[in-house]
Amino acid sequence: MKTTSIMIVGVGGQGSLLASRLLGNLLTAEGYDVKLSEVHGMSQRGGSVVTYVRYGEKVYSPVVTEGECDFIISFEKLEAARYADCLRRGGKIIVNTQEIDPMPVITGAAEYPSGILDELKARGFDVDAFDALTPAMEAGSAKAVNIVLMGHFAARSGIAKEKWTAALEQTVPARFLDMNRKAFEAGYGG
């Protein structure tokens, strides 16, 4: 089988690590060969962060490069655009419509590009944009944005929902499970 490549992108502190752990647990349980790659360090301080997830029968490289990505799951609008070169022909971008200003925008050195998602669509990208922040807050915390997004992706992943919920139980600490279940459901149906 062909290797599937996913990128989880966002801003340091948005919880992409938990999302990738969820995917890792799910895909391992499914019996795939799995590789994940993330870069820590400076990127934790509010910088742009990217996690690669690849699975299939046999996966060699842990990284995803130009034109290879099947799904970009973006926690923030700008970040979806930043990594769009990686999307393969026919790939899909799932993006949270949240805006987080990067430092050059905060200082006035740059402007947050308005209509960035329309720009992506105009360039031929398949963009599935939705607000993950509101359902996350309804579930109990803005931090649950990651699981809302994963729920949304789950519904399009071709992997059965009960496999996802089992992986969710395995990944999330018990005391946050209720909140994350709600977040996942909201994303799944959203």
């Binding site: 801003v11 890792g24 647990n25 391992t28 060969d33 799995v34 590789k35 994940l36 790659s37 993330e38 870069v39 820590h40 360090g41 400076m42 990127s43 934790q44 301080r45 509010g46 910088g47 742009s48 996966v59 060699y60 490289s61 842990p62 990284v63 490069t65 130009e66 034109g67 290879e68 700008l78 970040e79 655009a81 930043r82 769009a84 070169d85 990686c86 999307l87 393969r88 022909r89 026919g90 790939g91 200003d101 990067p102 430092m103 050059p104 925008v105 905060i106 200082t107 006035g108 050195a109 740059a110 947050y112 590009p113 960035i116 720009e119 992506l120 360039r123 031929g124 990208f125 803005a142």
Partner: protein, 585 residues
Amino acid sequence: MKKLLIGNEAVAWGLYNGGLRVISSYPGTPSTEITEFLAKHDDIHTEWAPNEKVACEAAFGASLAGARAACAMKHVGLNVAADPLFTLSYTGVTGGLVICVADDPAMHSSQNEQDSRHYAIAAKVPMLEPSDSAEAYAFARSALELSEQYDTPVILRMCTRIAHSQCLVEVGEREEAPLKEYVRQLAKYIMMPGYARVRHPLVEQRMRNLRALAEDCAYNRVENRGSRIGIITSGCSYLYAKEVFGDSVSILKIGMPNPLPEKLIRDFAASVEKLYVIEELDPVIENHVRALGIECTGKSLFSPLGEFSQQTIRDAFRKEGFPFENAPEKQGDAPQVPGRPPMMCAGCPHRGMFYTLVKNHITVLGDIGCYTLGAVAPLNALDSTLCMGASVSGIHGFNLARGKETEGKTVAVIGDSTFMHSGMTGLVNIAYNATNSTVIILDNSITGMTGHQQNPTTGYNIKGDPAAKVDLEALCRALGIARVRVVDPYDLKACERAVREELEAEEPSVIISRRPCVLLKYVKHGEPLRVDAGKCRGCRRCMGLGCPAVSMKDGKARIDRTLCVGCGVCGQLCAFDAIGEGAKE
């Protein structure tokens, strides 16, 4: 059962199951998690040492006493530990000794991208280099054996991509390695000239023995897939080569980059029509191949800079006429978007002090840690960053060169952990050789940038248990600095006073800018602040702080309440009293 492990956790399991009893390390991205994962085991000793030299020597002591031991560090940490390394090569070991070092090609979190393989060659010790977590586990485990078998420290070379990538690993059981008996061996362990001269030929013999091992060992292997193309590669470059070529080319995979085999390479080269070498950073394997008189293509195709990927390899081989007809095709071109560099967090205690320094036009020699981010806009506070401790040593030289012209206008800034690591000796030099220098210790009570590790100033050890706590004020006085004062960086007026007075003083001084990192769990955050739009004149003074929570909207300041921790520093700057907890928006 197979588990998904990052490379560093796999190394930790390999060392643990290989009978490790002691590990002493200094944190450094991307090596930190090796020691953190080992600290979860209560049946071995784990610790954060003040620096890599101390860590390596502690590991040496444990090995001398008969225990299997290790230390872990980032590539630049090995510079600090190079002194013990070079002579450890002569003494050899009693208990197995593994030095884990993690390189950082592309400098994700480092000040250079040096290639640690040169150290293994220069120090004449074997080096192992895994390609993924499964090999990281296997190599770490067997490195302890190899060390005892050949009476040598073994360097385990990781890199960012392998340290922080996960793949499935079959983790076995721990094999206990009992403490070996301690026997005095003066000629082996006292490296004074008379004994060292006897040890050096043994080092050379050991390398000959290891070269023989390199010809036929599990670390180096040939994947014979036809005679057209042969690739010699190692580390993650192997994965990228496999990703691109699959089973269509022959590969000599090197898992032991020092010492490199000779016959294995000659035979491999002779079996293929065209030979390539693919390695990140320096042409270490390539130079070895060429020294054997074998023609190959390496750095003429591949850069010595940064990280590779499957794309790097495809791009390079296209130049060699490979069509890659099934290569990935992208959907479209990404639009240009503003960058998103890392920055100091909202409420970071370093910000108030940096603001004060910038406001007073102070030249600032910087150091290594979160506060290196003081260099970015809008603060642009730093004039230099070299290596751990260089701010304190450097300001002394700076003031030696320019004297009174700079003494009252220059400071060094260094974090608490970095000061413990290698700032103290520089401070001794300031006192002893008498420059009128001012050092600011940015004491946030944690090793921040690497993800919150305890250090000797925090009062806790790696397990979070109470530990001896260095008294920084007393220490600085004991090192010969009479003027030592503490200031709260959230209090801008106090910062201003401290900086002015200490720079005016006619003797060296230390300012301890003390407030715990805002991300520490025990730190209570204040109520987020608001901007009273009626009072805000849009003067942008608060914007000079570079706080991610403060921005301008429609000509007025705005505070992001999800980010603001209520530190109040912006409010102190506001001349119109527009910022406060109770301000009306």
